[in-house]
Symmetry: C2
Subunit: 126 residues, 2 copies
DNA sequence: CGGCATCCGTAATGATACTG
DNA sequence: CAGTATCATTACGGATGCCG
């Protein structure tokens, strides 16, 4: 049976009421979503391609992530009823419109990463 | 003893080599970091204030998150050696410079959230 | 090839009690 | 008030095997 363990408890509690942060982060803030999206940024890819591209992700996680991303409309899934079967994943406009600024932000964060590292050492070494 | 369970395995593997995504997301992409940062956006706050503000976070998680954020230089921690003790957390410039665009991004994502919901229903209901 | 189901170890997380 | 230590629970994540 298809276990629907994604309860989606709608964590929009107290402060979360007016804060869409959770809603979005719960989707793309996980371990693999962003990486997967990024892998698809340049071109559509197949399952095993992504498996290799992302690297240390398992089939299960990739599968789950992919389904998740597709559910939210970030990517599209195209099945070619051939043999052997071929499935291609592609970034949608929504996905792209989200990934681009996100990457910008990440890159900006990277700029002051040195500062972060320093801060980390300063406190971590104590 | 102060458990240092944060192994920081430096997940910058394969594709992650040139991708700073993980480095940043592993820090602020977790369940509470963003929420905590946001709670501090308007003004400096004390521990229990944050505990209430964030809502469904436990003392332990808040504590850990706070330490994490402080380590990375996103927030500052000021202890007032009084009795009863008072500790105030405040957003640093780094924290603010990161939170602001992040929130913008989140909000933009919220705009097409309706679309996401639709997409979700479409696939989830089938 | 794509991908879901199962088993299982690990690690995150909440609740509680305790300290300074 | 501000945390930390401990415990129990659970969810996550990886490996494997099977099926279309």
């Amino acid at each position: 049976m298809t276990e629907r363990k994604d309860a989606m408890p709608e964590k929009t509690d107290g402060p979360g009421a007016g804060c869409p942060i959770r809603g979005v982060l719960d989707r793309i803030g996980d371990q693999w979503s962003l990486l997967t999206l990024e892998a698809l940024e340049t071109e559509k890819k197949r399952f095993n391609e992504l498996l290799r591209e992302v690297g240390d992700i398992s089939k299960q996680m990739l599968s789950k992530t992919l389904r998740h991303l597709e559910q939210d409309g970030y990517i599209s899934r195209t099945v070619y009823p051939e043999v052997p079967p071929r499935v291609e994943y592609e970034l949608t406009e929504l996905g792209r419109s989200f990934l681009t600024p996100m990457k910008t932000l990440i890159q900006r964060a990277e700029q002051n990463h040195p500062e972060i590292i320093r801060s980390r050492l300063r406190h971590g070494a104590e």
